[in-house]
Symmetry: C2
Subunit: 253 residues, 2 copies
């Protein structure tokens, strides 16, 4: 893999690697991810404050006492905010601080592998480091299995075929926008559900797609839950859940 | 990974595995794909008649003299068709015949691993076997790195973030449909280019997205080509090429 758009400028600087570790099952890491994690002296990962890192857990069997670990804590929304401070500002501060810590390692000549659940550039946090560092250091991305393909594997249904339009939607979108997008596509995956799942299910029902929709939680991990959306407990969807609406045609060809 | 929707009915039948081998770089196979290929006595793959199989080439270092190989030849469009025969009919016949050969192995108690470039259920040929066999045999899918994430890794740009709408489009779509879809989404990947690339580029230009569009050919393989679409030779795009239009926002956050 090459990174033609992000050449490094220092012969002695370390390299930044965005390493996709896949959706949850450690066996779904690629050979390249395993090699890169094993060979990097410094490992970074994001995690919610006070919680274990999902990405680190996937790769934990590869991490030894020879690795130095950089944990980047996300601020949690329940923390008290000063009157002038928004959550968005806190997030940007978190990314700036994480990038500064990675930069320090790169300048010292150390390679840094940042572990990313799923794929690093597909709705992932790695992009915030990439955007801050790839213009000054060599930054390479090792793609990972995304929730998109993990979800269709979990339900065992072809996602899309031929000339079909597949859309990745967010549960945060408004009901009207979701409806418009669902009507326009042949197959869809809806991520970022959480408390939005009640709205998402209602929209799916309103456009007549409920019988094709599946609910998938923590795809490919030991805690995987997978059922028709009609049967799912929509009150309790965690962040790492999604709705998969496979193509009507792809399963019949 | 479970396959709750495709339980086998014979205690002694073999299992069918749809194994994603990723976009091209053999190191982008997952540990699970490597294990499954190594452990399966029978390996199947599709290929254009007279041409090497891309999926087999990716996995070739894992294939030994202990494997029995089932090669499924696609009919090629330049073959003479009888007056009553369409290419579509020939394809369906090809899938039926491939499924019959796999079924024979499964009934004999042999596991069959079908190698799939990219991901098995994401616009892939494996679905034609899955659709014909998963109701009678245990069929499990091992997801692979899709062209979607391989393409964004190749250009080194975040694909989408936050609540953005990402669409996968086909170059076979009409210019009007492509235009409508491109305007409606925040980021897009356009697959199945070939001779459609001239039309695709023209549509992208007409909606003002040319400066954000990249052309990627055989992402992650030794033959990878990657450039801004404006600079690409659009007369010669092979089937395994795509256009990636990353989100305008994701690269700036």
């Amino acid at each position: 893999m090459s990174a033609p758009l992000s050449a490094g400028d220092g012969m002695d600087s370390g390299n930044l690697y965005g390493v996709g570790v896949g959706p949850g099952d450690p066996e779904l890491m690629t050979l390249k991810a395993v090699r890169r994690i094993s060979a990097s002296p410094v490992i970074g990962y994001f995690a919610a404050r006070g919680r274990p890192s999902n990405a680190r857990r996937i790769a934990e069997d590869l991490i030894t006492e020879h690795h130095r670990e950089l944990r980047f804590d996300y601020p949690v929304t329940v923390e008290c905010l000063a009157p002038t401070q928004s959550y968005e500002q806190m997030l940007l501060g978190c990314y700036d601080e994480a990038a500064a810590r990675v930069e320090e390692e790169l300048l010292a000549g150390h390679d840094v592998a940042v572990l990313c659940e799923g794929d690093p550039l597909f709705y992932g946090s790695y992009m915030y480091l990439h955007n801050r560092l790839a213009d000054r250091f060599t930054a390479k991305v090792i793609p990972g299995i995304s929730s998109l393909t993990a979800g269709s594997a979990a339900i065992g249904r072809p996602l899309a075929c031929g000339d079909e339009l597949l859309s990745v939607l967010s549960g945060v979108m408004s009901a009207d926008d979701l409806k418009t997008s669902l009507v326009a596509c042949d197959a869809a995956v809806i991520i970022k559900l959480g408390r939005n799942l009640v709205k998402v299910k209602s929209v799916i029902e309103s456009v007549g797609l409920l019988d094709r929709a599946y609910y998938v939680e923590r795809a490919t991990s030991a805690a995987e839950i997978c059922s028709p959306l009609a049967d799912a407990d929509i009150a309790s969807a965690p962040y790492f859940s999604m709705v998969v609406i496979p193509s009507a045609v792809a399963g019949l060809r």
